[in-house]
Amino acid sequence: MSNDRALAAWALATFHATFFVLVFVLLLYSRGGFGATLASLNTLVGLGLFVALWGTTLVTTRRALRGVDPTGGSVDGRRLSRQAIRWGAANGLAFLLLIAIPLIIGSIAATPPGGNPLAVVGIATIAAPFALSVASVIGALSGLTLSALDLVLIGLARRIAL
């Protein structure tokens, strides 16, 4: 990957992760009661979740840009959208797994004496198909939406430069 393309992937991945989170925060805050939600979360866990989302988005954005050069002469919009849907879904799944695995391990470790630690695994197994489906659909839709936005921004970049 050339330096320009590597920079483009880094910029687009960070843009996707921050734009997604900032829109989410703006919508939640505007509805009210966001302070109570924040108070119930651990700050370090929140930071860790953002780093996890940033990391998975960086990996999947790089994959989605394979064969597509956002700094080149022309971009195949259909190809970018197809790859964005596929890798957006993968991002949703990867992020879910990064949240779920520590949660499951933590719950097993925190099982009180006399309890059955494997009960958590049973619950996780039942919930997994539903959770994985929701995560992949949200990821795919986000990928499609962000790829449409990317195409507009790539067009704007070309108008600035040419």
């Binding site: 920079l7 910029a11 900032l22 600035i160 040419l162």
Partner: protein
């Protein structure tokens, strides 16, 4: 071992300010380099490209620590209908707009180096980084208003 929440919040605030210094200071630096009469187009593009890597890292850190800063308020976070809430929503919208317009700025950099005349390339970069610095100045003003009223 439990970390003191105050230490965590001060560390997050420091990180937020440091990231802002990198992003805002860097854009002013690129603008200053592009304003020099003796600066060559290739040099300005090189400085700008280095800045863009740091800019996007800073954007990620600013978003992450910004939410961490909100977390420090907890349930005492002012409601959206208040003056503070209105300023906060305005700041978030300006940040979103800056992030959005920064994508074409970053992508245009590679194209500028190869497709346009050196003089036009420097002129375009002056406008791009002048606009970025202006947007950062506005965000900083809103942040100072939120912090000190």
């Amino acid at each position: 071992m439990e970390l003191d929440p105050n230490v965590v919040h001060v560390a997050i605030r420091w990180l937020h300010v440091a990231a802002m210094a990198v992003a805002f200071g860097g854009s002013v630096l690129v603008l200053a380099v592009s304003m020099r009469r003796t600066a060559e187009s290739a040099t300005v593009v090189q400085v700008a490209a280095t800045y863009e890597w740091a800019f996007w890292a800073a954007v990620g850190v600013l978003a992450m620590t910004g939410i961490g800063n909100l977390g420090a308020f907890g349930i005492s976070l002012p409601a959206p209908g208040t003056d503070w809430g209105g300023t906060f929503e305005l700041k978030l919208m300006v940040v979103l707009a800056l992030v959005l317009i920064s994508v074409p700025r970053t992508l245009a950099l590679g194209m500028l180096a190869t497709t346009t005349s050196a003089e036009r390339s420097v002129r375009t970069m002056r406008r791009l980084y002048g606009g970025t610095s202006g947007a950062f100045a506005l965000i900083l003003a809103l942040a100072v208003t939120l912090a000190h009223g």
